[in-house]
């Protein structure tokens, strides 16, 4: 039951499950790529997180004495777990994924009444919870060591890492900071963005193809964008939110970078870093927690983009997409209240008359 009262896309249940599985399908290429890039630990973490989300959903339905099979097959728990897994550092221990998935499903989704009733995007709320509660685990990034490359961990080493927390002794280049984190740190010691970027040794093409440290799926910008565009082409999601999110980040970045390039990052790095592409196409577009009207969606998306830029630039944490998404989720009911659909012509006319009179 989608709660969006006047959403043009309020589908019947079968169609919800179609949407969920299509979104998952669009995530597959980027996921495969990032598992290849980050090695076996990424696969293990992904499996634990998705598995825990499904189990948590099953557990809640059991508790509420509702049949589990129809709800589980709608794919929404799988998608929540999947998105959460993609937003975690690839080498995080298993309990981070499991705890996050339980939090997302039990506290953020089922406690609010299940699919369609939740106020916040479960995956992003869980990510924020994990970041606040376990900042060390959530900000320990590794330089990627692709599968089958010389540095890659073997499967048994990976098990030891993910499940027992044993860091292989050969591996000491631990905190391979992400681009955003690195620049944030360097700015505090008066090193300009330009120097910091050069020092980080990260080329634009590496960002495009995702060949750098980051969370599981934050990195493969191209593949994620391709998946997102495919979803737009299939009319699973509309273009409004993704475009508005990207514009919300790019506009202030362009303006201020032109004003002071030493202090403010350029727009391209902003767009390709962190979870922005994933957030814009796959997370902000969640129909349950975003406004129902195109105009509302534009406001919502731009708000996410702007908040992301603000928090990245001035806030305490280097990455901001998750914070921005749940802040705007909280505003969704307000946006829906004030941005009415234009289906009923009288309503908007009456409103404008009233506005003119007052």
């Amino acid at each position: 039951m989608i709660h969006a009262s006047h959403a043009p896309h309020a589908h019947a249940p079968t169609s919800i499950s179609r949407v969920m599985w299509l979104v998952i399908a669009a995530l597959v290429p980027a996921t495969l790529f990032s598992i290849w890039l980050n090695g076996w630990p990424a696969l293990l973490l992904w499996a634990v997180t998705v598995g825990s989300a499904v189990f948590a959903e099953f557990f809640c339905l059991r508790l509420a004495q509702r049949p589990a099979a129809p709800v589980l097959s709608d794919g929404s728990a799988v998608l929540t777990g999947w998105l959460l897994a993609l937003s975690l550092p690839a080498w995080a221990p298993w309990w981070i994924g499991a705890l996050g998935a339980f939090f997302a499903i039990v506290v953020v989704k089922q406690v609010f009444g299940g699919l369609g009733q939740n106020l916040f995007n479960p995956a992003m709320a869980a990510r924020v919870m994990l970041l606040i509660a376990f900042p060390v685990e959530l900000t320990t990034w590794v330089q990627p060591a692709p599968l089958f490359s010389a540095d890659a961990l073997s499967l048994s080493q990976s098990f030891a890492l993910t499940f027992l927390g044993q860091m292989p002794s050969s591996f000491d280049a631990l905190s391979g900071a992400t681009t955003l984190g690195h620049i944030k740190t360097e700015l505090t010691r008066d090193i300009s963005v330009v120097q910091a970027l050069a020092g980080h040794g990260q080329s634009m093409s590496a960002s495009l193809f995702g060949l750098h440290g980051g969370s599981l799926g934050e990195t493969a910008a191209m593949l994620l964008a391709a998946g997102g565009l495919a979803l737009i082409a299939l009319r699973v999601i509309s273009w409004h939110i993704p475009l508005a999110v990207l514009a919300g980040v790019a506009l202030p970045a362009l303006l201020l970078h032109a004003h002071d390039p030493a202090r403010y990052l350029d727009a391209t790095t902003h767009l390709l870093s962190g979870g922005l592409i994933l957030g814009a196409f796959f997370i902000a577009t969640d129909p349950v927690t975003s406004p129902g009207t195109p105009r509302g969606q534009l406001i919502f998306g731009f708000g996410i983009g702007l908040l992301t830029w603000l928090i990245r630039t001035y806030g305490g944490y280097p990455e901001a997409v998750a914070f921005a998404v749940i802040l705007m989720n909280a505003l969704t009911p307000v946006i829906d209240r004030y941005v009415r659909p234009r289906i009923y012509g009288h309503a908007s006319k009456a409103a404008s008359k009233k506005g003119a009179a007052s």
Partner: protein, 215 residues
């Protein structure tokens, strides 16, 4: 009687008088309480300061009231307050109060130094750093702050007074570089200031503020 009051209390005069009397009684009560507690509160606050300063000095190494024997030094970062520890009138050590800017605002810390410029101890009094990530600077959360004990400006050498990430000898924390960097930098500057002002700091004859007032 009751009836009369219920009539009377609707009049404006009664209401004004009521408010006035209540306010007057409240002020009298508070004044009395303030007189009663003032001495104890001042003593408790002085004890707080003494305790926080004494943390960075060896036990029994001083016999004066630290908070009353202060100097203000000028540094490029602004004025630095120094408390002097005396044993039988002779200055044996100083405690410097520093406030470097960390990740989320100033970190208030005190550092004790003996006459040879050796660090006796460092403690963080107040900070707003990220909980769980950078709060290992508190003694209740980690032992990092003890890694400065016994160090001086030439041990390690001045260029090693930095976190490992910047080529120095002091550890940073996983996921937090800015906080330790701020503290190490502040301590180094504090030690440099100490060396520069050594003579003034340990001039035992210099009047204590408390004595200066009475003489």
């Amino acid at each position: 009687m009751k009836l009369k009051i219920s009539e009377l209390r609707d009049t404006l005069g009664y209401q004004i008088a009521l408010l006035g009397v209540v306010a007057l009684l409240a002020s009298l009560l508070l004044t009395q309480a303030s007189i009663l507690t003032r001495a104890d509160i001042a003593a408790a606050e002085a004890r707080d300061l003494q305790v926080s300063l004494a943390q960075v000095l060896p036990e029994g190494s001083f016999d004066n009231a630290l908070a009353e024997d202060t100097l203000l030094l000028d540094s490029p970062q602004g004025q630095v307050k120094v408390f002097r520890a005396r044993l039988k009138g002779k200055v044996t050590a100083v405690v410097m109060k520093l406030s470097p800017i960390g990740y989320a605002g100033p970190i208030d810390l005190v550092v004790g130094m003996d006459a040879d410029g050796k660090v006796l101890g460092v403690r963080v009094l107040k900070h707003k750093e990220t909980p769980g990530l950078a709060d290992q600077i508190e003694t209740s959360k980690g032992r990092w702050i003890f890694s400065f004990d016994g160090k001086s400006l030439n041990d390690p050498s001045p260029k090693d007074w930095a976190v490992k990430k910047d080529g120095g000898v002091f550890d940073q924390f996983t996921g937090a570089t800015i906080t330790p960097r701020a503290i190490v930098g502040a301590l180094k500057r504090g030690l440099e200031l100490f060396t520069k002002e050594h003579e003034r700091l340990f001039d035992s004859a210099a009047t204590q503020r408390a004595e200066g007032d009475t003489k």
